[in-house]
């Protein structure tokens, strides 16, 4: 097997090329035909140039949001699967996603209505919800003994998810008719963010999260074999686990607050990538982030074009494509 540096270079080049193709093709695909010549025609005022507005206001923010959300969820999926030593773990497993959803539901239902630096109240409330959920789950997992108990973390996360779901249903029950409709649609996930402001607000959080995760691959390789084995090899398990939990949760919270809970990316993408590059986290983590971004851009392109009357919520497309594909992979092996 070639040395890790070569494989890393090959992997990064391959998946970056894939993402580059998606980033270029994404804004060119849509329900209407636009002329690229007109899009970049500086002689037409931007306010009069519908093609340019479709390109820069409708499509480009969407594609960038898809890239950011896809990369965040896929990377978070890799980390949660290693941290919890469970192939079924997803960004939703620890309740972070449900906490974010609850925050959004509360903001919609009780008409919390303000904006900070162009970011509306719903994404802000949603991010606050994810941080709250992380805090609760973390406190529960570290309460019993020194260090994090993976099993308690997992059980606490699953329980918190169920508990948050109950609160979401209760909030929806209290909601007005039109608000209920909006909450249900929010839960389907959508990337039509409408401007660059929400993306720019989520970007720093995702970058911080990625910086935290970037230090982890070696530790994750060992932790996924078992905490004791990792400790024996000189890994500071507690520190690594804390960093992994915080980084993956921040990435998830930012992604969900930007686009709603887009399912399946965090589960399917890491497994697909492992089939190609093996299980070394130095490869899996960056490759998953890149492939997650490309995959969600592609799913959103399908969501935008496949339905003749309007658009499908992207969360429906990722699950409809990802679910059967994943099952096929399972059976094939």
């Amino acid at each position: 097997m070639p040395p890790i540096r070569t494989r890393l270079a090959l992997t990064l080049t391959g998946f970056s090329a894939l993402l580059a193709v998606a980033l270029v093709a994404g804004p060119l695909i849509g329900s209407t035909h636009i002329s690229l010549g007109r899009v970049f025609d500086r002689s037409i005022a931007f306010a009069d140039n519908t093609d340019a507005q479709i390109f820069f206001v409708a499509r480009l923010p969407r594609v960038l949001a898809a890239a950011l959300v896809g990369a965040s969820l896929a990377a978070a999926g890799v980390v949660f699967q290693a941290l919890l030593r469970n192939p079924l773990a997803t960004p939703d497993t620890l309740g972070v996603s449900s906490g974010a959803a609850l925050g959004a539901m509360l903001a919609i239902t009780f008409h919390v209505d303000f904006a900070v630096a162009g970011v509306a109240s719903i994404p802000l409330a949603s991010f606050a919800g994810s941080v709250g959920a992380l805090g609760i789950v973390y406190a529960l997992a570290s309460a019993r003994r020194r260090g994090l108990s993976t099993i308690v973390l997992l059980l606490a996360g699953v329980t918190m998810t169920a508990f948050f779901q109950a609160l979401i249903l209760f909030t929806q029950y209290l909601a007005d008719f039109a608000d209920t409709f909006r909450t249900v649609r929010w839960l389907m996930g959508t990337l039509d963010v409408g401007s660059f402001a929400p993306i720019l607000a989520a970007l720093p959080i995702v970058l911080v999260a990625f910086a935290m995760l970037a230090t982890l691959p070696r530790s994750l390789d060992l932790i996924s074999l078992g905490a004791d084995a990792a400790a024996a090899r000189g890994v500071n398990v507690l520190a690594a686990e804390r960093l992994a939990l915080a980084g993956a949760s921040l990435a998830t919270g930012a992604a969900v607050s930007l686009a709603g809970p887009v399912g399946f990316i965090g589960l399917v993408v890491p497994h697909l990538v492992r089939l190609v590059v093996g299980s070394d986290h130095r490869l899996v983590l960056p490759a998953s982030a890149l492939f997650g971004a490309a995959f969600l851009i592609a799913c959103d392109a399908v969501a935008r074009t496949v339905w003749s009357s309007g658009e499908l919520p992207v969360g429906i497309v990722t699950a409809l494509i990802g679910g059967p594909f994943f099952l096929w992979l399972l059976v094939r092996k």
């Binding site: 329900s31 009069d48 519908t50 479709i54 409708a58 109240s121 008719f177 409709f181 935008r304």
Partner: protein, 285 residues
């Protein structure tokens, strides 16, 4: 002959719904639109209870509430001892239970604007106010025809009728498709619905769809919470992000408030008039 009659009567008894008295005195209306219809006929004094969503006329505030479209409380309805319950046709479970409890009900379903007048006549007939129901419906037909006559020969600007979106941004925009009473009201008011080709009541319009539909006029409907002028100004500014839309450039975006836009009852006439004033401000006053 006797046998035939007996069989007929028995069959009728087995099949027939509980009989409504000719003039029910304790009406429970679970649909705000029908509550308004009954009040418009001058029979509000016979309404004994209303839904959680009833706000008009103000007189309904004194009445007990018995749940909503999705969660009617059968127990509270029974406690009112109604002699007629007005339900929507989709409330299948409630209808079954009313049947079992032997309580008469009136069930209906709305699609287009014309159905509202049909329902008013039917409700009038059912509660023993057929003449007044006919009069209310005929007056509505006359007024709507008057608005249509004023706008018929004017150019119909491409109009986007938004009834829901996230506050402060253009996310999750829902607009009227080419079907339903909002679409019909828009046409009578002299607008051409940009989503007329989509035969559904609600269209979720993405940013791209908003840009390509190129409306000359945008009307946003708000209901529930009343908006302050500052809020309305802020909501209008959200459209500036899509400056290539003709309506945005020519400042023909307006916000209309009032629940008459979402209650398909007698006040749809006022709602249509408000729409016409916004779309043809010079002609309709």
């Amino acid at each position: 002959m006797k046998y035939v009659l007996a069989i007929l009567l028995l069959t009728a008894a087995a099949m027939g719904r509980p009989q409504t008295p000719a003039r029910p005195q304790r009406i429970v209306s679970l649909i705000p639109a029908v509550t308004e219809m009954i009040y418009a006929m001058g029979d509000g004094s016979r309404v004994a209870a209303v839904s959680n969503f009833d706000h008009f006329p103000a007189d309904v505030d004194r009445l007990p509430r018995v749940g909503g479209l999705l969660d009617p409380s059968v127990e509270r309805i029974l406690a009112i001892k109604p002699d007629l319950v007005i339900v929507y046709a989709t409330q299948k479970e409630l209808i079954e239970r009313l049947d079992r409890a032997g309580i008469p009900y009136f069930s209906y379903q709305h699609r287009a604007l014309a159905d509202i007048m049909t329902t008013i006549r039917a409700v009038g007939a059912r509660i023993g106010s057929a003449a007044r129901g006919d009069a209310v419906a005929a007056e509505m037909d006359r007024t709507l025809a008057g608005i249509r006559a004023k706008t018929a020969n004017l150019p119909h600007p491409a109009t986007l009728l938004v009834f829901e979106r996230d506050p402060g941004s253009l996310r999750n925009v829902y607009a009227s498709g080419g079907y339903g009473f909002l679409h019909d009201m828009l046409e009578i008011a002299g607008g051409r619905n940009v989503f007329a080709g989509m035969k559904q009541q609600a269209v979720q319009a993405s940013t791209e769809m908003l840009l390509t539909s190129k409306p000359d006029v945008i009307v946003e409907l708000r209901y529930g919470d009343s908006l302050k002028n500052a809020d309305i100004a802020r909501e209008l500014r959200a459209w500036d992000a899509l400056a290539s839309i003709p309506a945005v450039r020519t400042h023909r975006v307006s916000v209309l408030t009032g629940d008459e836009f979402v209650v398909p009852g007698p006040r749809v006439v006022e709602a249509t008039l408000k729409l016409a004033r916004v779309i043809h401000p010079d002609v309709v006053r």
